[in-house]
């Protein structure tokens, strides 16, 4: 299997979703919110840091209000570029503003079983198997914890999950399912073991941490404490807002951006105040709640616009972005899934979001589908090709070849054609067969995608994690369970 990782780079397609003046206005509104409304930080350690840096802290409500200059000065300390490192250094991911990488999505609770097709509760074995399939796919740059290992103890579940992923893949791991101090501490020790020590981990962070905010304008205490530990260890850490228009955010998109931005940049500033220069990223998956039932939608024009707009904000702060795309609300891989995942991914790519989350889910990141995973990867490949745009030069204008063929000929037998035919996109899962061929089995993308996943799962052997390391990791988890 290929060790190559596909990423979008040097794009030729651009879109202006926000003007610089509009970004400034959102930024100003955000600072106004942080200064006058405040953000809740229910963590003693966080409140102490804020207080020591001159913010106004209400210990009772745990709401922090900070002056604009405090936030702005803190954000300036964040490194604009760094690498997400992999167990295999060839698979390191430069977060430099000129690459878009895709991860697997997370963290779901059910899976369409790859063998039986039945929907069932997810378990630890699924975590490892998804990682193994993802390891083989060039479209996957890094892992999230795709599924919750619900057959492991609640207290150490997040640790079992990251161990399973490291054992099944050499790619970078970003966990979104560790959100308390005690698991974060062990996870960092586990990562240090893999990297070869604490200092080595700082240089080569094989793990990054993603925490969710608690919109509107709040954080979870466990998440904050976990993030501070990670930041202290030099592990890239990000806060994700999932602010949703109508429910956890205003009905208007600009308002949702401002509320979510206040959550993300206040927490990011906190990490920089505590550990200046520690690698951080912006993370977001804003949406609009459904007008009728308030549900998380996982798609729709608002999501698409948030996808494009958020990297403009992250660029304004000069930090990498991890952006929610894909993650359709559809119950099956169908028309809705195709539209939502294509447009959300295109819009997030067109502004060059550094990390995209992610492949593989149905029903708003709840139900894992291997078929959807493969089709999502193809969506990324289509967007990847589209973003390369149209190259216009003497070679691509092909004047000599056009003259050689002349009026009425064809280009199939031209050397120029042979040379460039592989530039033409070749889909894996689109049906371009004659009608009568289709009629024989009436099979389609879903069948082929599932077959591909089954084949990878049956055949792909990732570079194994040293058995000694694996045993050490297991020991660390057991120690935590006692």
């Amino acid at each position: 299997m290929s060790k190559n990782i596909k990423s979008i780079t040097n794009p030729k397609v651009h879109l202006d979703v926000l003007t610089p003046a509009e970004v400034q206005k959102i930024h100003d509104a955000t600072l106004n919110i942080i200064e006058n409304v405040g953000v809740r930080f229910p963590s003693i350690r966080s409140l102490d840091i804020w207080e020591a840096n001159g913010a106004t802290v209400d210990r009772e409500s745990m709401i922090v209000k900070a002056k604009p200059h405090l936030i702005e000065a803190a954000l300036k300390k964040a490194p604009p570029k760094y690498n997400l490192c992999a167990r295999d250094p060839q698979q390191d991911l430069p977060l430099d503003g000129n690459h878009v990488f895709v991860g697997t999505d997370g963290c779901g609770v059910e899976i369409i079983d790859i063998h039986t097709g039945e929907r069932r509760t997810s378990c630890l074995q699924d975590v490892g198997e998804v990682a193994r399939v993802a390891d083989a796919m060039e479209e996957v740059g890094f892992h999230w914890v795709a599924l919750s290992a619900q057959d492991t103890p609640v207290e150490t579940r997040g640790l079992h999950e990251i161990k399973a992923i490291w054992e099944n893949s050499t790619k970078h791991l970003q966990t979104e399912s560790i959100y308390n101090e005690h698991e974060a501490r062990v996870a960092i020790e586990m990562a240090a073991l893999i990297a070869g020590g604490k200092e080595a981990l700082r240089k080569r962070p094989v793990l990054s941490l993603m925490q969710c905010t608690a919109p509107p304008l709040g954080h979870d205490g466990g998440s904050l404490d976990a993030a501070l530990l990670a930041a202290e260890a030099g592990i890239p850490t990000g806060f994700m807002t999932m602010s949703a228009a109508l429910t956890t955010g205003p009905a208007t998109m600009a308002g949702v951006l401002a509320v979510g931005n206040a959550e993300v940049i206040s927490a990011t500033a906190l990490l920089q105040l505590a550990f200046p220069g520690t690698p951080v990223f912006y993370a977001a998956a804003q949406t609009a709640s459904d007008l009728r039932n308030g549900a998380y939608t996982g798609g729709g024009p608002e999501d698409f616009l948030f996808g494009a707009a958020t990297n403009v904000l992250a660029d304004f702060y000069d930090i990498p972005l991890s952006m929610g795309s894909f993650a359709t609300g559809a119950k099956e891989p169908n028309w809705q899934a195709g539209i939502e995942n294509s447009l959300s991914t295109f819009m997030a790519c067109v502004s060059m979001s550094d990390m995209l989350l992610g492949l593989g889910f149905l029903h708003g990141s709840r139900i894992w589908s291997y078929a959807q995973m493969m089709m999502d990867a193809e969506i990324f490949s289509i967007v990847h090709k589209t973003m390369q745009g149209i190259v216009v030069d003497d070679e691509t204008l092909a004047l000599d070849t056009i003259a050689a063929v002349g009026p009425g000929g064809n280009f199939l037998s031209q050397k120029h054609t042979l040379k460039h035919m592989r530039d033409v996109f070749l889909p894996q899962f689109m049906d371009r067969r004659p009608y009568n061929v289709w009629e024989e089995k009436k099979d389609d993308a879903r069948d082929w995608a599932l077959a591909k996943a089954r084949n990878i799962l049956a055949t792909h052997q990732p570079d194994p994690l040293d058995a000694k390391l694996s045993a050490e990791l297991a020991k660390m988890i057991v120690a935590e369970e006692k």
């Binding site: 229910p42 963290c107 609770v109 059910e110 069932r120 509760t121 919750s148 619900q150 609640v154 579940r157 959100y179 608690a214 709040g218 979870d220 205490g221 109508l246 429910t247 956890t248 009905a251 709640s289 459904d290 007008l291 009728r292 039932n293 308030g294 549900a295 998380y296 708003g364 709840r366």
Partner: protein, 215 residues
Amino acid sequence: MSAELFKKMAQSIIDGDSDVSVELANQAVAANIDPIQAITEGFVVGVNTVGEAFANGDAFLPELVMAGEAMKAAVTALEPEMAKRGTQRKMLGKVVLATVEGDIHEIGKSLVGTMLSASGFQVFDMGVDVATTKIIAKVKEVDADIVAMSALLTTTMVKQKEVIDVLDKEGLRRKVKVMVGGAPVTRDWVQRIEADGYSEDAIGAVNVAKQLMGI
């Protein structure tokens, strides 16, 4: 003149205007109108109108929530008068509502609370991160018909089972119906912990609660 007032009451709910609904409730008290009559012939008419419009797809969730809140505010304003007269509004059932321990996710739980109380349930909303012991104590204190629990994390979801186990241990399980909700809650989970019902959204939760009460 009370017919005119009742019409205005219904309209205040349709408009989702708590200020106006409270003002009208106070007017009713001043005019010596029976608060129960004000509720059933005035405010409830508005709730039903919005409910029907919602069911037909003509009204949206924010309108439903604002109507619910205007209703709640009006009833609260009428409560002292009801107490004075020794009358009580007939409720569909008593629901103890909470997001379980270790979980701070609020919105789904609160939405369920608003919908239930707008539909005529008496809701005791205990907030978020509520310990099992506190939930059990509240169930006993108010003699609850239903316990409704929310969890957004797979790691806190287990607390829903804990509450059910304690209800069982204390001999309360037969008396109290259990509803659960939250993004990771699935039918499989509901069956495993032997809860009585679940819904993926707040509107559905009202139907589940009604079913559990045999309505």
